[in-house]
């Protein structure tokens, strides 16, 4: 079985961005960023690409599948 994981917090921290900054840049709510980082909410491909663009990284570096 595979689970959806992310490194959003690491990438955001590396750019010294707060959740508020990232939320405004990606045009989503702070709660959405928070729930994605905590693995509660799985973003759509559109939002994943948008976050990757905002953080100037590849979507595969932000999100990945992990075997349990």
């Amino acid at each position: 079985m595979e689970t959806f994981k992310n490194r959003l917090r690491d990438h955001r921290g590396a750019r010294n961005l707060t959740q508020a900054d990232l939320a405004v840049m990606a045009q989503v709510s702070r709660k959405t960023i928070n729930t994605i980082e905590n693995g509660v909410f799985v973003p759509s491909a559109f939002l994943a690409l948008k976050l990757a663009r905002v953080l100037e990284t590849r979507v595969e570096d932000l999100f990945y599948l992990e075997n349990l």
């Binding site: 707060t18 508020a20 900054d21 939320a23 405004v24 840049m25 045009q27 989503v28 709510s29 702070r30 709660k31 959405t32 729930t35 909410f41 973003p43 759509s44 559109f46 939002l47």
Partner: protein, 148 residues
């Protein structure tokens, strides 16, 4: 406080207010329409039912108008719109409608089950309850899910 933080706090105020209004709107609708069933129950008079409706009806109307006004104001604020209504809130809205659908379905099944068991229920009792549940449950579910 940064500009982003200010903007986000404003968006969160909007979202929190809308959640509270939805909660009030759903609850007042449930009481307003559901109170119609009270007059058919023993111990309740039509006057009591009318009194409850007289209080709950205006609350529902005012909260609905506030939600609509907020919706228009939010639509005009392009900088805030995405911060309040994003794909997570759309997902929550869909989940709320699904919960409403299942509650209605189970409610109707219960009515049929009672009829099957020979228990007669007045249409005047179950129709207002089902109608009010159909409207109130999605609103209450949205308010509950948005917070979590």
């Amino acid at each position: 406080m940064s500009d982003n933080e200010k903007l986000l706090r404003q968006a969160e105020r909007y979202a929190g207010m809308r959640r509270a209004l939805l909660f009030i709107n759903a609850l007042s609708y449930f009481v307003w329409i559901g109170a119609q069933a009270l007059q058919f129950l023993p111990g309740f008079t039509p006057h009591q039912s009318a009194l409850i409706q007289f209080v709950a009806g205006p609350i529902w109307l005012v909260s609905l108008l506030c939600i609509l006004v907020m919706g228009v104001r939010l639509y005009m604020r392009r900088d805030l719109r995405g911060l309040v209504d994003d794909e997570r809130t759309i997902k929550i809205g869909n989940q709320a409608f699904q919960v409403g659908y299942w509650v209605l379905l189970i409610g109707i099944a219960l009515v049929y089950a009672l009829l099957f068991c020979g228990i007669q229920i007045e249409g005047g009792i179950f129709l207002p309850i089902l109608l009010s549940l159909g409207v109130a449950v999605p609103g209450l579910t949205y308010a509950a899910l948005y917070r979590s």
